[in-house]
């Protein structure tokens, strides 16, 4: 499998480390039901077939965190984004909402 890093270009997956589902948000440790929320966040991951947004770290390259959209049954990669850009866009949308 090869990933097109937006900084480095196309590289083999041996240069990257995989973290997991990029759609989850870390629960608030001070929030109500935090223990249950963290158990769910850490252990109860889905294992979907098909399109999946997931974190990859370009450890042996530019050291960027990436969000890769990959089909888990075909390994087709349809999108690669810098995780920091996605996070910045999410922060901006929170601010827009109020």
């Amino acid at each position: 499998m090869r990933i097109i890093c937006p900084y480095c270009g196309e590289r083999g997956n041996e240069e990257f480390s995989y973290l997991g589902d990029a759609s989850l948000l870390r629960p608030d440790p001070a929030g109500a039901g935090a223990m249950h929320a963290f158990a769910d966040y850490v252990y109860l991951r889905d294992n979907p077939r098909g399109s999946h947004r997931e974190f990859w770290y370009h450890a042996a390259g530019c050291r960027s965190w990436l969000i890769v959209t990959r089909n888990t049954s075909t390994h087709d990669i349809t999108r690669v984004e810098f995780a920091c850009d996605v996070a910045a866009a999410r922060m901006a949308s929170f601010e827009d909402e109020g």
């Binding site: 480095c8 042996a60 390259g61 530019c62």
Partner: protein, 223 residues
């Protein structure tokens, strides 16, 4: 303070001694030079100051910071893109003995500077078979249509993290690895080059890094 009997050593001093090695080919397929004269530092832009950083580097060194994996050089100073808003700055032949200190002053408030000078083994590689040697370990395509003069890549060779750059059209490549992995890199390089015959040439530049280190040591001892 007691005199310290410290001796500066280059990363490959005991391994890469000048001479002709490997197969007895008519002409060495690879020429290897350990560069020991480069002052090195990483430069990381501070958030929101990227534009001012570009301007400050242009004013101080006459260099447009590359945005992408490329290297820009002028008068022995270079900036190589190694990540988003991150560069490796290098000064050859001790253009300025206090290059990193001056860099820190000139870019104060705009970027974080980390001294790297003694942290890297730096090799310059050229010769008729240089691409054939590199192809044995570098997993990226170095064909001239895909990797040209001025291009930089961070990747791995034999599980060792490296930076590679093409410096000129001859072509000359610069291969760098963390100093503590220099012997492992050398093991891969010397074996990969053996079938073509290789020559280790003395560091061609006037100033050696060890001279500067020795001077620094003396000034510490004289305090």
């Amino acid at each position: 303070m007691a005199d310290l009997a410290l001796q500066a050593r280059t990363p490959l001093q005991d391994l890469a001694r000048p001479g002709r090695f490997g197969a007895a080919t008519a002409k060495p397929g690879l020429l290897i030079e350990e560069r020991t004269d480069l002052a090195l530092a990483t430069v990381m832009a501070r958030r929101g100051r990227e534009h001012d950083l570009n301007r400050a580097v242009a004013a101080a060194y006459g260099i447009d910071l590359p945005h992408g994996p490329h290297v820009a050089a002028k008068d022995g100073v270079s900036f190589a893109g190694i990540g988003v808003q991150r560069w490796l700055a290098a000064a050859e032949g001790l253009v300025e003995a206090d290059f990193v200190d001056r860099l820190r002053q000139r870019l104060a408030g705009l970027a974080s500077i980390a001294e790297q000078t003694d942290g890297w083994a730096v090799l310059r590689l050229r010769g008729d078979r240089v691409r054939d040697v590199l192809a044995k370990g570098i997993p990226i395509d170095l064909h001239p249509s895909r990797f040209a003069t001025g291009d930089v890549a961070l990747t791995v060779v034999a599980h060792i993290g490296v930076q590679i750059a093409q410096l000129d059209d001859r072509p000359t490549f610069q291969l760098m690895a963390f100093r503590s992995l220099a012997a492992s890199l050398w093991s891969w390089l010397s074996k990969s080059a053996a079938e073509f015959g290789y020559e280790i040439v003395p560091s061609g530049s006037p100033g050696r890094r060890t001279d500067r280190i020795t001077t620094t040591k003396r000034s510490i001892n004289s305090d």
